[in-house]
């Protein structure tokens, strides 16, 4: 299975500014000073090998959208943030506009940043495509119809050419869709959110975003640990520092890198990918959070090693 991250930013899409780009170029040239870089190959090797990720790349700014690819002809996504737009363009480029596709989308919840990419998903406008949207919220169809209605958007939902279906799921009930065994789980978030445990071919991916895991209740923490149990990959909302998450941003519905590491260690998960980055964080800040999370795993490790990554738009993880 391959997991592709098309949108990794929390709450609000962001983009680099002109000043941000200039700063990266200045840092890159400073690092290159005195080196004998003459050919494109030498420069590309230097950029890939010697520059920190936060200088040579960006974590990106699209809001939540993750693809689970098991090599079948149908597409499986989590959430429809603005990351679904580049996803759709990529599918169009690879498959063309006249090949009908089927998309299965599992919605964590209906907050704006998780549905706002849908009006810009090209396949919704192309006849022959089928889009199945799964979720546990009662008002899921109304939320999608509402953001297409005037005055929010010029194209009404009724004018979309794709066949669009909504499937209601029940928390805790394992079902089979799109060759995955999928189990949703209720999470603490304003208006509720749901994580998903996806199982296929002996591999397990957990998508847990927009969730405030408080770890102050033993029973509910046990439940989360069991939900994460032995996962090959846990995609985890680590938007805030722990100090913020338990003070000024308590009940804002998000977790920290510390809680992510702890839950994954208890669950003996193999890989934690921190996700849903705080929109005010720049690339350097997200990189420093990753370094701190790596260090935390190192100093709290017992008999189980947890791999840690930080999601970025364009990241692909083989599971």
């Amino acid at each position: 299975m391959r997991v592709r991250f098309w949108g990794t930013r929390g709450s609000l899409p962001v983009s680099l500014t002109a000043e941000d780009i200039k700063g990266k170029i200045v840092e890159a040239l400073l690092a290159a000073a005195g080196r004998n870089l003459k050919t494109r190959a030498e420069i590309e090797a230097f950029v890939g090998r010697d520059l920190p990720f936060a200088i040579s790349h960006t974590y990106g700014g699209n809001s939540s959208c993750v693809e689970l690819d098991i090599g079948t002809d149908e597409h499986v996504l989590c959430d429809l943030g603005t990351g679904v737009r580049p996803f759709g363009l990529d599918v169009l480029a690879r498959k063309g506009p006249r090949t009908p596709r089927t998309f299965h989308v599992f919605m964590s919840h209906l907050h704006w940043d998780h549905i706002m990419g849908f009006p810009f998903f090209p396949h919704a406008y192309l006849p022959g495509n089928r889009i199945v949207i799964y979720g546990c919220h009662a008002g899921i169809e109304e939320a999608f119809r509402g953001q297409h209605a005037a005055p929010c958007f010029p194209v009404d939902f009724s004018r979309l050419s794709a066949k669009i279906e909504f499937v209601k799921l029940e928390p805790g009930r394992r079902v089979r869709h799109a060759d995955f065994d999928v189990t949703p789980k209720l999470q603490q978030h304003s208006g509720d959110s749901y994580s998903y445990r996806f199982e296929h071919g002996g591999k397990v991916v957990v998508y847990s975003t927009d969730a405030e895991h408080k770890t102050d209740d033993v029973a509910s923490t046990h439940e989360v640990v069991e939900f994460f149990r032995n996962a090959d990959l846990v995609i985890f909302d680590a938007m805030y520092s722990l100090a913020d998450a338990v003070s000024v941003k308590e009940d804002w519905g998000h977790s920290s890198n510390i809680v992510g590491v702890e839950l994954c260690q208890h669950a003996r998960a193999r890989h934690l990918c921190i996700y849903h980055h705080e929109p005010v964080y720049n690339d350097a800040k997200i990189a420093s959070v990753l370094q701190e999370t790596l260090r935390l795993e190192e100093i709290t490790r017992a008999d189980h090693t947890l791999r840690i990554s930080s999601a970025y738009d364009g990241l692909e993880i083989a599971v």
């Binding site: 408080k214 770890t215 102050d216 033993v218 923490t221 520092s241 722990l242 100090a243 913020d244 338990v246 003070s247 920290s256 890198n257 510390i258 809680v259 702890e262 701190e292 999370t293 260090r295 935390l296 100093i299 709290t300």
Partner: protein
């Protein structure tokens, strides 16, 4: 996990020993909060001695935040001292270094909080 307290004049030194995780965080909360009941100007000042705390999880840090929030409106002094390297790093990564005034030793904190208590700790 054990919590014990020693008084030096107007300063209560509360020592925490062992590990705090989500399994015993409530127990830690129940043991810690009574020591903060009189933490206010003109009454108690509290030093949290973490020299024998081996590990603290998010659940334990949450208890410390609850304690800090309880004391803050009363303008009480509640500081932490002698963090072991691992605990100090956890404080740094969690940004709890921004929540607590930290001192290297109990004596450093006593001198900063109450010269009378510092003198008593030497003679006591």
């Amino acid at each position: 996990m054990q919590v014990s307290a020693v008084r030096y004049a107007d300063v209560l030194v509360v020592a925490v020993k062992g590990r705090i995780d989500y399994m015993n965080a409530e127990e830690f909360k129940a043991a810690l909060l009574p020591h903060l009941a009189n933490c206010a100007p003109g009454r108690d000042q509290v030093i949290l001695d973490l020299s024998r705390l081996e590990y603290v999880s998010s659940a334990g840090l949450r208890v410390l935040m609850i304690a800090a929030k309880e004391v803050r409106p009363r303008k009480g002094r509640f500081v932490a001292v002698s963090l072991q390297p691992v605990v100090r790093e956890i404080f740094e990564i969690s940004r709890f270094t921004l929540v607590f005034d930290l001192f290297d030793t109990v004596q450093d904190a006593l001198r900063a909080l109450s010269p009378k208590a510092a003198a008593m700790s030497h003679t006591g």
